[in-house]
């Protein structure tokens, strides 16, 4: 039953967006998110919509996947909308009990909701088009210059890789232990939250013990294969910045400038 869980939401493809260098994609995503916070009028969102339509269109990711990312965060979006509607001072247009809805509040709420929606969809476009491995590679390379000030770039990336590698293994193991405990009469499904949480103990204890044993063996195997940290280590796959990466960067810079223009120069 735990087997259906997929890690990340990567949808493989061979499009210009998929093939962008992961470093560039991460930088673009951050620039996009930063740009969202520079927008101060609805007009600015026109550029965002254009940018998103272009990116999603090029990536060939079905639009419903893009919006699926919004689902888990719907509560936060609704809460933001509600807070903005009721808490903003201004011209009152409607009153329910003690709560006043103001015109400014409505505008502010719509504005914030749009910002959140674009933020989430923009970020999920990154994870939809980038495999966890190249994402890890990208993060490692981007953090590399920070190594001189003590950021453990290689170690972080190695930890992420190993975590990704062992998630399916540990899920499989959880499934196995669960079945073994159920065969001996363990009950994971009935009772209130407390008794269900208590039923998890015989599941978690063996799982933790085995995870530690695995970690021990893996460390030994890595040492036996000459692993000695990130120093002097090379990589088989080299990231390279190509023409399309420069193009993407230029488009992003133009987009960013357009947002700045909309903020400071459009009345």
């Amino acid at each position: 039953m735990l087997k259906d869980i997929t890690i990340g939401q990567y949808i493989p493809g061979d499009t210009p967006i998929h093939n962008l260098d992961p470093r560039i994609k991460i930088i673009i995503t951050f620039a996009f998110i930063a740009a969202l916070f520079f927008i101060n009028k609805f007009f600015g969102y026109l550029f965002v919509v254009a940018f998103m339509i272009m990116a999603v269109g090029l990536s060939k990711i079905p639009v419903r996947y893009i919006f699926k990312g919004l689902k888990p965060l719907l509560v936060i979006i609704l809460l933001t909308v509600a807070l903005n509607i009721f808490m903003t001072e201004g011209e009152v247009i409607y009153t329910i009990w003690k709560l006043r809805i103001t015109k400014e509040g409505l505008i502010q709420a719509a504005f914030m909701a749009l910002r959140l929606i674009f933020l989430i969809t923009g970020a999920s476009l990154l994870t939809l088009t980038t495999s966890p491995i190249s994402l890890t590679d990208g993060i490692e390379k981007l953090l590399n210059p920070l190594r001189s000030i003590g950021v453990p770039a290689h170690e972080l990336a190695m930890m992420m890789t190993i975590a990704l590698r062992f998630i399916p293994t540990l899920l499989e193991e959880t499934d196995k232990i669960m079945k073994a405990q159920m065969a001996r009469g363990a009950d994971f499904e009935t009772g209130n939250i407390i008794s269900r949480a208590r039923a998890m103990v015989p599941l978690l204890v063996p799982l933790f013990i085995s995870a530690f044993r695995r970690a021990d063996e893996l460390a030994l195997a890595m040492e036996a294969r000459c692993y000695r940290g990130g120093e002097n280590r090379t990589r088989m796959k080299q990231l390279s910045i190509e023409f399309r990466d420069y193009m993407a960067l230029i488009i992003t810079i133009v987009f960013f400038l357009a947002i700045l223009w909309s903020r400071y120069f459009v009345k």
Binding site: I133, T161, A221
Partner: protein, 276 residues
């Protein structure tokens, strides 16, 4: 290639008492040999295997790998590259999320050029016949396939010797066969020295020489034919002989004229046909 001289090693258990896992071991393995080390659990065979990769250092005595003393720090990485090690659980020795990335892990640690790594990875995967799975995720492979990927990961480091610590203990019969066939191929075609630690007698039959360990000692040494013809001695150690050898032994006891050192079904067929 491998030389262990008077090697002893002890563990301390939880009560602080020491016990010797290895006592005065003397083993010599020549380049290109296929040696099996047999023994049941706790006989010290895994402890010995870890000495060959400098994962453990001898308390007394010396281990030389290709003339390099394992206790010398400066040889450590050379030794680990020369004598690669494959472990029992295939899941716990695969590091990366894609087969070819995992095979590249060793050469990457050696700091080789990317194009050289690429070449070695492809060669290693072809040798173990896993090339078509190079883009797969390891957790979707069978046990035997995973173990072959682990072997490829060692091969890509171009070792002259591979130590396999019960590589088939967690596999089903077909996976076991895949792995043993791969090992034999490496020994015969690539001339890689093989040290196979196992408790499956049928696997040891393929070796050039066998060592049997018991409570930290080497108790028997010889070719498979020499070792397995001593059926009673081996049974006394709590080990089995290959089924066919045991059958031959029982038939001899019944007064049938068979040689004592029949190890495989094919040999048995030949011998039985000769009887008529």
């Amino acid at each position: 290639m491998i030389k262990a001289k008077n090697v002893s090693y002890k563990y301390s258990n939880q009560e602080g008492k020491d016990y010797f896992a290895l006592k005065n071991i003397n083993i010599e393995i020549k380049e290109g040999e296929f040696v099996a080390i047999l023994g049941h659990n706790g006989s010290g065979k895994s402890t010995f295997a870890k000495h060959l990769n400098a994962l453990l250092l001898p308390l007394e005595g010396t281990v030389y790998i290709d003339g390099m003393d394992t206790r010398e720090e400066k040889y450590l990485w050379n030794i680990r590259q020369t004598a690669g090690m494959v472990f029992q659980n295939p899941d716990n020795q695969i590091v990366a999320t894609i087969v070819e990335e995992d095979v590249a892990f060793g050469p990457e640690n050696l700091g080789l050029e990317p194009n050289i790594i690429r070449k070695r990875v492809d060669e290693a995967l072809l040798t173990v016949d896993m090339f078509e799975y190079r883009k797969h995720s390891p957790h979707l492979l069978s046990g035997g396939q995973k173990q072959r990927v682990a072997i490829a990961g060692i091969l890509a480091m171009k070792p002259r010797c591979i130590i396999l610590d019960e590589p088939t203990a967690m596999l089903d019969p077909s996976g076991r066969k895949e792995v043993i066939e791969t090992i034999i191929k490496l020994n015969k075609e690539e001339n890689i020295t093989i040290v196979l630690i196992t408790h499956f007698m049928d696997e040891a039959v393929n070796a050039d020489r066998i060592y049997i360990m018991e409570e930290g000692h080497v108790v028997m040494e010889g070719t498979p034919k020499e070792i397995f013809s001593k059926v009673d001695e081996i049974k006394k150690l709590g080990l089995d002989v290959p089924q066919v050898t045991e059958l031959a032994h029982m038939l001899i006891d019944e007064g049938i004229d068979l040689p004592k050192d029949v190890l495989t079904v094919d040999e048995m067929v030949v011998e039985l046909c000769r009887l008529k």
